[in-house]
Amino acid sequence: MDDFYREIIIDRYKNPLNQGTLDPHDISFEDDNPLCGDHIRIDIRVGEDGRVNEAVFDGHGCAISLASADLLMESIHGKTMDEVKAMHKEDILEMLGIELGPVRLKCALLSLKVLKAGVYGLGEASDELVE
């Protein structure tokens, strides 16, 4: 269990480094996981070079979903929109460094789903975005 709740996950959950909202922003999207009630909103500012300049998340959820969101915001700094679109679930699992069952996997991938729906400019987020 100590392995599952690695120090980085507890630390980012309790003291997130990239939490907040941006106004104005270039991209904003929010969605929730109806099964567990987790809710994530992501705001992004894109620089003139087309790369992510600022990225923050806000919302509520379990340690896995909020730590994933915080780490994800950090990882997309300086990325182009195409690079963000190319991200997939292995990128999140690598950052977390833990094995997840099917239920907790949804917690971990909520932020990536929200991010990709926002960057693609979709009306709603779908699980296919993070398959």
Binding site: M1, D2, F4, Y5, I10, K14, L35, C36, G37, D38, H39, H60, G61, C62, A63, I64, R104, C107
Partner: protein, 69 residues
């Protein structure tokens, strides 16, 4: 348990062999009414032993410890 999400509580208890329920318990409107994102619920029955209750209490303390609370 303030500051700890019910799913995290249940995940840690599960690793100790204790199954509780976490989430909306098929009562989402009630949780919304009380402005609760989710709750954790332990239920007892005839077959539960005193040792299992002790393990539940001990494991709840380890939840606090893991989260540094």
């Amino acid at each position: 348990m303030k500051g700890i999400h019910p799913h995290d509580i249940s995940q840690i208890l599960d690793a100790e062999g204790i199954a509780i329920r976490a989430g909306h318990h098929c009562a989402m409107p009630l949780h919304e009414k009380f402005n609760l994102p989710a709750t954790a619920r332990a239920s007892f029955y005839l077959y539960n032993t005193r040792e299992e209750v002790d393990l539940l209490v001990k494991s709840l303390y380890s939840v606090l410890e893991i989260f540094g609370i």
